[in-house]
Symmetry: none
Subunit: 118 residues, 2 copies
DNA sequence: ACCTATTTGTCCGTATGTATG
DNA sequence: CCATACATACGGACAAATAGG
């Protein structure tokens, strides 16, 4: 996988790590559904702290690039969906509340995609 | 400011802290430009670790609600009408739940636009 | 201009919890 | 049951930016 970090660089280590993964994905060397090495392995290989790798992974998750699950590891985002009871509940309530305020589904979708709240 | 955390609760401490701040803002008790107490103060007052508070603050920053600067502290950026408090709350929870399930914002937007629930 | 205290940012370490396989 | 792997929380240390004297 040949990632690398430079402790003397300007960018923080976790950002360098995340950038490495992004580059791999952009270059097509990491396909959907593929599993990333465990944070522990990466930490040992690059001689950085486990938390630093986990932070990079969580950043990538927040960006929607990978999926993290306990005991399973990090997987390049593919298709899902598992059990989503809570999500369904929230979606229903959100639609209700949005309508009450006169917002359309399109408005909602826009809000979410723009990553902001009204 | 009367925030509170419950170590035995289901939600993680940093999420509880962030929720407290969101509630303050939604209720209009935290206006734009106002400064939040320093992470150190909050940590001491609630008897939680400094890093836990910083994580909550960074989460709120990622949500665009506050601005963080070294030596300066946390300042409220956003301002939202009280009548939209519930919608904001639901949106935030929905994003949290979706992320937990590995869903992206794009997935969420699609779900809403397609008018279905997973 | 200088120094100091404050405050967040990052990194490391350790421990424990929880879901997965 | 057991090993793996991420999640959270605690702690310590130092760096960097800011504010104030």
């Amino acid at each position: 996988m040949l990632w690398q970090v430079d402790p003397s660089a300007d960018a923080p280590l976790y950002e360098q790590l995340a950038a490495s993964v992004r580059a791999e994905m952009a270059a097509g060397r990491l396909a959907r559904g593929e599993r990333l090495p465990s944070a522990k392995e990466v930490a040992a290989a690059l001689d950085v702290n486990l938390h630093t790798v986990l932070r990079a992974y969580q950043l990538l998750r927040d960006e929607g690039l990978i999926e993290l699950r306990r005991g399973r590891g990090a997987v390049v985002v593919a298709e899902r969906p598992p059990e989503q009871a809570r999500l369904t509940e929230l979606l229903t309530e959100l639609r209700y509340e949005a309508r009450r305020l006169g917002l359309t589904d399109h408005d909602l979708a826009t809000l979410i995609l723009e990553g902001r709240t009204p």
